[in-house]
């Protein structure tokens, strides 16, 4: 099966494993990520999302079980750098992942580490910066950019390694709404162009953009499925302390009041507007959808 990019088999992980103060963080996770997929991982604080993500590119190694990236075992040190090149990772705070004093020098950091020679190096930098729309700002120092721009620099830094997969660990959580939209647009474009996306997020609106959602709780997979499937399970979500996206909540409130059943459940604003239109839900005079 070579359209499987990442395969996780019965993954267990504990911080300080073997020591008396070991902290179990993952307790038997099995999953596969297909090439080109867009997967969201959600779950409340401490559920193990970041720990799982760090297994995808050998930043952490399983205490028990296996993680394979393109059939390479992450615990084999010979594959570490290859795996990190294939699975790129973007973190929460752009300030703590940008290395260069100028945008273009930072973007070059990854390929420099891989030993990419000139002129291929410069080409990669240009391509990556074009992809996130920051080519014009390549000579700026990063600290004079906005938060959203800085996070796009971080993404470009990963893209310059030409990864097959991009893992975003709460990459939008420190951004204001406008910057978040900027970053999400870049992510969606990359996905359309064929990059596999794994997005960890606390924003359910963001998770709804994915093709598949994995819900973690207590280091295990609690729920998995398409956004439709996941967000329709209201009871289960409540147990997991997750709140569906606002449009879904609105739709359910409308359903409860008017008796019309929306199917599929609208998860975005656009979908909600559409659904309301399609069902011609009677609206108060003068009101607009």
């Amino acid at each position: 099966m070579d359209d499987i990019l990442i395969r996780v088999e019965d993954l267990h992980f504990a911080y300080r494993a073997g020591e008396p103060d070991a902290v179990p963080a993952l307790n038997g996770i099995s999953l596969t990520i297909r090439r080109g997929e867009y997967v969201a991982i959600v779950g409340h604080n401490g559920s193990g999302k970041s720990t799982l993500a760090r297994h995808f590119n050998a930043l952490l190694l399983p205490t028990r079980g296996k993680v394979y990236v393109q059939d390479m075992d992450t615990s084999d040190p010979r594959h570490t750098l290859d795996i990190r090149r294939i699975v790129g990772m973007v973190f929460q705070d752009p300030d703590n992942q940008i290395v260069g004093t100028l945008v273009e020098e930072d973007v070059a950091f990854g390929p420099e580490n891989l030993g990419v020679p000139q002129p291929a190096l410069a080409q990669r930098v240009e391509k990556a910066l074009q992809a996130v729309g920051l080519w014009e700002l390549r000579h700026r120092p990063p600290h004079l950019l906005s938060g959203g721009q800085r996070q796009r620099v971080a993404i470009a830094g990963v893209l310059a390694m030409e990864p097959a997969c991009l893992v975003l660990d709460e990459a939008t959580s420190m951004l204001d709404p406008a910057s978040r939209a900027e970053v999400l647009q870049v992510v969606r474009r990359l996905h359309t162009a064929g990059t596999t996306i794994i997005a960890i997020t606390h924003f359910m609106e963001e998770a709804a953009l994915a093709e598949r959602i994995i819900v973690l709780a207590g280091g295990k997979i609690a729920l998995e499925g398409s956004p439709q499937e996941v967000f329709s399970q209201r009871e289960r979500l409540r147990e997991l302390r997750l709140v569906p996206p606002t449009p879904a909540q609105l739709a359910e409130a409308v359903q409860a009041r008017s008796g019309v059943a929306f199917s599929p459940l609208p998860l975005t604003r656009e979908a909600l507007v559409e659904a309301v239109h399609a069902h011609a839900v009677p609206l108060p005079a003068g009101g607009r959808p």
């Binding site: 911080y15 300080r16 103060d21 902290v23 952490l60 040190p77 570490t80």
Partner: protein
């Protein structure tokens, strides 16, 4: 994996601590007013001491080097516009601090921190003033006076900061299990 792990940690720790040293030099924060004729006690050498204690002599030495180079470039008085006074002595701050720390760590962690901060500070004071005398910027008697009025308060302040920072960080690390 472990080898490069350590290397990355050293490079990053050195870079971040050197940034603090530069920042302390560029703001008034690097000088703490003291009730002696010296007026100010500098704490710009503290990052080098911390680097030596936490990551060893190479890291401590490089932080001192970066700090020295920046204090040379920023100097506006003749004495510190001389690389022998501004740069060379700083390299040794983190190294002697590390030596003192490893020598006493077995005995008692706090004692080791206190002595290491004092030794690192003394290295700075003695070598800088020694160089100043050797290079003819200061008469030996003047240097001795400056050494005592600056050196003592600087030791006190450095000890406080080093002990506070290291114990807070180790405490945090234990609580958050931050060290992988």
């Amino acid at each position: 994996m472990n080898g490069t792990d350590k290397l990355v940690r050293r490079v990053v720790t050195a870079g971040v601590l050197a940034a603090i040293a530069i920042l302390l030099g560029a703001t008034r924060l690097g000088f703490i007013p003291v009730p002696t004729p010296a007026g100010n006690a500098t704490i710009m050498h503290v990052p080098a001491i911390l680097g030596g204690i936490m990551e060893g002599p190479a890291v401590g030495g490089v932080i001192g080097l970066v700090f020295g180079i920046f204090s040379f470039f920023q100097a506006t008085i003749p004495m510190f516009k001389d690389p022998f006074v501004a740069i060379l002595p700083r390299i040794f701050i983190g190294i002697t601090a590390w030596l003192a720390y490893v020598a006493l760590r077995r005995l008692n962690e706090y004692l080791a921190l206190v002595v290491s901060a004092a030794v690192g500070t003394l290295t700075n004071t003695v070598l800088v003033l020694g160089m100043a005398v050797w290079r003819g910027y200061m008469a030996p008697g003047v240097a001795l006076t400056v050494g005592i009025t600056h050196g003592l308060p600087e030791i006190v302040v450095a000890v406080i900061i080093v002990v506070a920072v290291v114990s807070a960080w180790k405490g945090l690390a234990r609580r958050r299990h931050a060290r992988l």
